[in-house]
């Protein structure tokens, strides 16, 4: 690799990008420790615990996309954001549809399969 001196701007950019990775790591760490902590030592009701876990997971996914995969709202990366959002849409239709149909089936015909 041809090593070279960084220009002043590049050096500044390097520091700010490194800081962005560090922020991503710290936020993810927090969003991991909170649900694990509540699940291991917490005294929440089942529903509150599940909502905490789900909420932390969703926020952490966004944190990873933003800080590690550099997905932003900024102009010329829009197309790829659309690719991701479309995938999420397909997933919601197929995954949500699966859950809806099968749990409806369990409810009507196989109550023993309800978790």
């Amino acid at each position: 690799m041809s090593q070279r001196e960084l220009s002043q701007e590049e050096a500044k950019e390097f520091v700010s990008e490194r800081r962005s990775y560090a922020w991503g790591y710290l936020l993810s760490l927090l969003l991991t420790l909170v649900p694990f902590g509540f699940a291991a030592f917490g005294d929440l009701s089942r529903m509150a615990l599940w909502l905490t876990i789900a909420g932390c997971a969703l926020v952490q996914i966004v944190v990873h996309l933003r800080f590690f995969l550099h997905i932003t709202w900024s102009g010329n990366k829009r197309e790829d954001l659309q690719l991701i959002l479309f995938t999420v849409l397909i997933l919601l239709i197929m995954g949500g549809g699966t859950l809806w149909i099968l749990f409806s089936l369990y409810y009507r015909m196989m109550p023993g399969m309800m978790p």
Partner: protein, 218 residues
């Protein structure tokens, strides 16, 4: 604008950036131009992989009740090892980020290789703990043929492990390429794509530890 504009990152209207994620920028022009499509194509592949995992998650949730009188989540899973695996994978995502920055800003090649080796060791450590987990589960009678629930578990979680194994092999191959050919544009684009895969596997793991392990144990 002054002449310093040329040092600005590529996403400031100079050349259009066609894929999200870490772009190498104008100082790597030769790799940037030819292979941006490859990275974008990899994003499309990653998205179809996300669909596969998403539907396996849905299958797992649907099969939660299908324990057939066999061991259930609270009998089979251990919070401690799930926590260790989560931490290892999170740190490895950060170290891969540091490797990407070492690549982008062309710091010493040694720095790049060290971060990559640390990432590889963390990936292998994750696999070690995961296999140990599966071994414990087998010992408790949690074999895939026991019930629909355990089958669904073993189609979801080991598939993620298989992806991590593939990513580790890919990383070893890239380290070999660096040793033989140096950091050429092949290596650069391969690293960009592997970074996307690696960070994505961590995102999938967020779903696994939240839904499978924490959801199952609470």
């Amino acid at each position: 604008m002054t002449s310093t504009t040329t040092h600005r990152p590529a996403d400031q209207a100079r050349s259009p950036v066609r894929h999200p994620g870490l772009n190498l920028g104008p100082s790597h022009q030769e790799s940037e131009d030819v292979r941006e499509e490859m990275v974008f194509g990899f994003w499309v592949f990653m998205m179809s992989d996300v669909i596969i995992f998403g539907l396996l998650f849905a299958t797992y949730v649907v099969m939660l009740g299908g324990t057939a009188g066999g061991p259930g989540p609270s009998d089979l899973f251990e919070m401690k090892s799930a926590f260790i695996e989560t931490m290892i994978l999170l740190v490895s995502s950060f170290t891969f980020g540091m490797a990407s920055l070492a690549l982008k800003y062309r710091t010493d090649r040694k720095v790049l290789v060290i971060w990559l080796v640390v990432t590889l060791l963390l990936g292998l450590g994750f696999l070690f703990f995961e296999l140990k987990d599966f071994h414990t589960m087998f010992g408790k009678g949690g074999v895939p043929s026991r019930s629909g629930f355990i089958s669904a578990f073993f189609s979801l979680v080991p598939l993620h492990g298989l992806h991590v194994t593939g990513a580790c092999i890919w990383l070893i191959a890239i380290l070999g390429q660096i040793a033989v050919y140096g950091v050429d544009s092949f290596v650069k684009t391969a690293l960009l794509r592997l970074a996307i895969l690696w960070h994505f596997l961590d995102i999938i793991w967020i779903g696994i530890f939240s839904l499978v392990y924490l959801g199952g144990l609470s």
